[in-house]
Symmetry: C2
Subunit: 322 residues, 2 copies
């Protein structure tokens, strides 16, 4: 039985499609892996790529992709709405089938070592691969961003797990780690006031008293002339998606603001959607709700106000077809 | 300048007023302290007493009160809706004026030692006085309740901080500690289904993915024929009261249940109420909102659906008048 993992590398290039095509080329035309998603975001100046496939092949091709990204992206000339510290900013590994969490942690160390050897990028292990509690949270590692990295790395506390204690001149640093499926969920507000939207984000996120498994911030989407609450749900079983949405609506009422739409960035496990649909369908958590993927898409767009959503954003679409 | 503290001892007697009168007698007719609240709850079979006053006097009188409670309450014959492990179940100390947190922690150790010497009750230090992380949370200490205490205490991990490692035969054990002002907030649901109300409580509380500073459970109020979400807000600045109320309403919608009223048990700091009123008045957190105590009472009853509420439940009512 093949070991299947998902990786979701985030690259600091969200505008130039030619560059991104070169960066993702190693993931294409390979029967053992699927390039399932490329989300380019011009406001963030960042792309999120999702690959699912046979573990060793995925690792080998990721080393190649990182080499290309390090040569084509120059962080010294990068600016965007999303915090970042490197050309390949972060690369999570998620166990999908026939692989334990510990095996996935071991793979993450191997990937870190191989990328560092191939491209001389210093690497931090984060999430379940982290070498200490402080590094388990990506925002701690990324604090100070690319611009603050050279100074930060002179502090022995922030020596990287692989590589020398100085940033790659153009590519910065990279965080790699094994984690649970993470749901990147953004909520569009009918407001262009980023300060107020950030206040909403603060009220719902754990770090300032909100829900235990929500990380959240605010971002302005220039092309849509509105601001988003942008969040990661780091354990959708314990802090479900419906809570993130309803809590945002609750906080927005203070400012007489409304939610106009929402979006999933990357992939989402089917169980995340189904469990939160139960809330809106007045079903108990442990009720059986057997829905086809098209039904899940339709109901999710209705109840979660998802835009730009389809079956191909549900992780089981790929696992099932392999 | 006098050092002023608040203590909120919880006694496992909520039905017999004569017994409670004897237990609280040491707090009466003393010019240096105010007995500001006695809440007897028959369903819980528990009373919450609130005393504010000069620190050394409060401590001395608390030792007397504990001695009386230990002689009059027999846990071997006690049952009630609220978890408990002792005749005097818990006694928090809260710094109010002219006293630092560290000084208040020192006082809590002195109180623990004095009660143990006077009444031979084993004592656990909790909250900011806790000797380790596990003991900082009262539910960890109280888990197993009075009935499980004798067995639990044979585990060296659960040796008490003061006294022998066995329960007082009739009075069990007691937790003492310094903490921030804690708001005991209960929400009446229009349902007698304790199982569903507990599911609501689980969704809002930190331990299962909810808000960071909410501890919550469910209780049935026999005399009102309804169930409550019963909670402690352990840091109302970071997880405000309005979030506890609105999140409960949000979860209740799954079950098509409604909030009918709410109550504050014990005292509440004025700032807790004013900060959450700002939410309903569409004001920013940092807006100035200067309200008299009668205004705060009126608005709190309107927006938080508080029942049985008045100025004497606001802590500043006593500090101001001293």
């Amino acid at each position: 039985m093949q070991q299947i993992i998902e990786i979701v590398p985030n690259y600091s290039e969200g505008k130039n499609a030619d560059i991104m095509q070169k960066i993702i080329a190693p993931f294409q035309n390979n029967p053992l892996i699927s390039l399932v998603d490329l989300e380019m975001d011009a406001s963030y100046h960042r792309s999120v790529v999702t690959i699912i496939g046979e573990a060793q092949t995925v690792l080998r091709q990721m080393v190649e992709s990182a080499k290309i990204a390090a040569s084509l992206i120059d962080m010294r000339r990068h600016s965007g709405e999303h915090p970042r510290m490197g050309a390949i900013d972060v690369c999570p590994l998620i166990p999908i089938q026939n692989i334990t969490e510990q095996e996935c942690i071991d793979l993450s160390r191997k990937l870190a070592q191989n990328i560092n050897e191939a491209s001389q990028i210093p690497i931090y292990l984060y999430a379940k691969s982290a070498s200490n509690e402080q590094r388990s949270l990506l925002p701690n590692i990324r604090q100070g961003e690319f611009e603050g990295l050279a100074t930060k790395m002179t502090n022995p506390e922030w020596a990287p797990d692989f590589g020398e204690a100085k940033p790659h001149p153009s590519a910065g640093a990279l965080a790699i780690g094994c984690r649970k499926p993470l749901v990147a969920f953004n909520i569009d507000m009918n407001s262009n006031d980023k300060g107020k939207v950030l206040k909403i984000a603060r009220r719902i996120r754990y770090s300032s008293g909100g829900y235990r498994f929500i990380q959240a911030g605010a971002a302005r989407l220039q092309e849509r002339r509105l601001c988003q609450v942008t969040m990661n749900l780091t354990d959708y079983e314990q802090t479900p998606l419906y809570q993130a949405l309803e809590a945002t609506m609750m906080e927005a009422r203070r400012y007489q603001m409304d939610v106009v739409a929402s979006e999933i960035v990357g992939l989402v496990p089917k169980a995340c959607l189904v469990n939160s649909l139960k809330y809106y369908l007045h079903l108990e958590d442990d009720a059986v709700l057997d829905l086809s993927l098209p039904d899940i898409v339709e109901l999710s767009m209705k109840y979660f106000k998802l835009r730009d959503f389809n079956e191909q954003k549900i992780i089981e679409y790929y696992v099932k077809n392999k």
